[in-house]
Amino acid sequence: MSHDTLNPEVMPSEPEKATLEGKNKFLGFWFFLGGETVLFASLFGTYLALRNSNNGGPTSEELFGLELVFVMTMLLLTSSLTSVYAMYHMKNNDFRKMQIWLGITVALGLGFLGFEIYEFYHYIHHYEFTFRSSAFGSAFYTLVGFHGGHVLFGLLWIITIMARNAKRGLNLYNAPKFYIASLYWHFIDVVWVFIFTVVYLMGVI
């Protein structure tokens, strides 16, 4: 009888917190998310303070189109649910289904990122609204671009752990990695909820 602690015969119901390393990752990651909250708050504060300083360039009312933002919001919100499904299957020790749902999450995230790149491209080429146009431009691209950077990082992260563990299957060593990547993905959606409310909706009112 083998005693492989990372590949038990019966997987515990919370494989992400079954090892000390998993517990530490879990706590450390929430600590990081607390810090990220403050970091994004400083960018939101800057944006709110500078959003009317458009230096004669386009204003937020002229720039923002709600249709595109609505589609992007739906994509990111749905991808949050699909990663919940992925973690549901992880806890039921169904590796294949977890990978499928993570794949859907990645596809939705890529869709979001594509729309965001299109949006920035549109602003730059049709409105000549760039990072250097005005204080509003700098604050806008810093805040929304930083979030977009998080989306890109999250996608690369999820794709990497999916590929790295594709042949290994699920065990107590990689379960915390999947769980934490999904927490990161949810946090990206948390930030987006405030971006679509504070930047886009309040920008066109």
């Binding site: 019966v10 119901s13 917190k17 879990f26 706590l27 929430w30 600590f31 998310l33 607390g34 810090g35 990220e36 909250t37 403050v38 994004f40 708050a41 400083s42 939101f44 504060g45 800057t46 709110l48 303070a49 709600l66 609505f70 919001t73 739906m74 919100l77 749905t78 949050s80 649910l81 919940v84 499904y85 549901y88 806890k91 039921n92 927490l183 949810h186 946090f187 959606d189 948390v190 909820v193 405030f194 679509f196 409310t197 504070v198 909706l201 309040m202 066109v204 009112i205």
Partner: protein, 107 residues
């Protein structure tokens, strides 16, 4: 021994059932989040009064984020005391940061 395996199986079945119920709750949470989003966008598109719309969409955003944290990120589960301290600590500093930046440009 047989009895022991049986009880392990029973426990697994119990957890499986519980997780399934939770998953149902998550889908309801998701549906509510979609509804909140649609309400926020419709209110802005309808061009209602600024002073009326802004507080409502901010409250809708806060409720959505609470759903996201407590249900999607499982902060409602036990064993999340330290994550709660970290998030609430982060949120308090975040609040002060935004307040400071807004007060700075008040005049």
């Amino acid at each position: 021994m047989a009895e022991n395996t049986n009880s392990v199986q029973n426990e697994l079945d119990y957890h499986k059932k519980k997780k399934k119920e939770e998953m149902k709750q998550q889908v309801i949470t998701f549906a509510l989040m979609i509804v909140f989003t649609i309400i926020a966008f419709t209110m802005v598109a309808a061009g209602l009064d600024k002073l009326f719309v802004i507080p409502i969409i901010v409250v809708l955003a806060i409720v959505q984020v609470i759903f996201q944290l407590y249900y999607f990120m499982h902060m409602s589960h036990k064993g999340h005391e330290l994550p709660a301290i970290m998030m609430y600590g982060g949120i308090s500093v975040a609040f002060l940061t935004i307040l400071t930046f807004l007060v700075l440009i008040w005049w």
